[in-house]
Symmetry: C2
Subunit: 307 residues, 2 copies
Amino acid sequence: MINQLIANIKKTNAPIVVGLDPMLSYIPKGIVEKALKEYGETLEAAAQAVWEYNKGIIDATADLIPAVKPQIAMYEQFGIEGLKVFKKTIDYAKEKGLVVIGDIKRGDIGSTSAAYAAAHLGKITIGTKSYTPFGEDFATVNPYLGSDGIQPFLEVCKQEKKGIFVLVKTSNPSSGEFQDRLIENRPLYEVVGEQVAKWGETCMGDSYSYVGAVVGGTYPEMGKILRKLMPKAYILVPGYGAQGGKAEDLIHYFNEDGLGAIVNSSRGIIAAYKNEKYVSFGEEHYADAARQAVLDMVADINQVLER
Amino acid sequence: MINQLIANIKKTNAPIVVGLDPMLSYIPKGIVEKALKEYGETLEAAAQAVWEYNKGIIDATADLIPAVKPQIAMYEQFGIEGLKVFKKTIDYAKEKGLVVIGDIKRGDIGSTSAAYAAAHLGKITIGTKSYTPFGEDFATVNPYLGSDGIQPFLEVCKQEKKGIFVLVKTSNPSSGEFQDRLIENRPLYEVVGEQVAKWGETCMGDSYSYVGAVVGGTYPEMGKILRKLMPKAYILVPGYGAQGGKAEDLIHYFNEDGLGAIVNSSRGIIAAYKNEKYVSFGEEHYADAARQAVLDMVADINQVLER
């Protein structure tokens, strides 16, 4: 799947991923009201509104982008109905040829980790039949529990040719609280990054590993070091736009081959219509605003990469 | 809810929690076959088997125990159908007066973390109505992202009088890979433990905090130190039994008041009938075997605590 992701990035010339993190407050009133009318004030209505909203964004941007990254928490908050729409969104994005990165940040050990891996990247066998419970192409994974938590994911990745992005240095202000603490004069995130490189050696695609890393775009100096420490790991970069990461900072996350990083934007794309710059599109044309925001983001990043 | 947990522990005189981590391989053949007959070889059949199995265990043990800890991965692996049974299990356990600890190990930041907190411990408001998506009493949380990830859970805990257990030192063999690394001569788990104590200060129950910690029973020397570092944190202790933790090691996880720790057993209870010691119960009496295993576990721990 890492090969597929790279092929999609080359085809679209867009090293970006659209984060499908649908807060109810992002969704245009018209969509919400229609759902409430049809389903009443229920979780089903909220989920339906999320679905309509996502579909609009996918339809408007699928030809421009290599991948989407649904954030499962935003679906899980609506319980079972929300998770149905998480699955529906994955299926729809895949139908449209997009690679799907499940931002699930799961992390456990042994058979529990294996269960998460099967749920999101693998299959479950019941008698003679097998099922794909959620079916993402990649998943984000938390490394705090060590190799016991990662290994079961690697097994499934090898079988299914799927991939993971391990949290190394996250984009949030307090990420340094533990991740930056020095261990023999090196921050913890470097120690984790080194392990990511090791885990990745055992499952390589054509030029990059099935094991990637999450490194926040808000910490470019750290990104520079981590890039060198994990040369074969694709880096998923959150923090561009709304969180303050700038295109010129992102250059360090890429390799000489122009590959190696995929930059996420969520709110900046999906709620673009709320941004002053795109407000003229109007709420009902939120998907067109998202399309324009994608075009602008790609141009912004590519002008830096071309230098 | 920490007050309720302690009240339940005192009432049952059982500082234990039964981990409802239903692997399909644990479930008696009779239950699985009945479900396959009714629902075919489907995820629904697997989920139905899990439900029958859980119900049997809850019915057989509810009067002896203060709490259950369903491991969400074991339900998530069966997709939407599995998650329906996760919710059904929570509701049923609560009906029986049990405290429910959702072993979800979620961890993210800001609005995403808030969405997880709402999903599992809080409410979601749709128009004028509010819903409880999953409704656990406690949730386990991963600290790797720092305070940004914990704070939104604390907000919900304060509003709803719920609680969290933060992963500090996990029970698995490779937990030391990152957690034991020395930071200014102190292992990372102590640094995290210190933060748990700080986070917990802001939301106290009568004698213990809403913020507890997970510390593996397989590392008693570390448990001893962490007990002192977080005097007001309830410690959830995995690793007893199947993973090798022994009752005499657990004494260090308790405070002088005889409280402060709750010891988990999953496989050792729910699949007791597969253990040589209880094999005479027979597969169809798996729930009676689980009851006997609970009685034995409580006696084993209490004889050490009474010393």
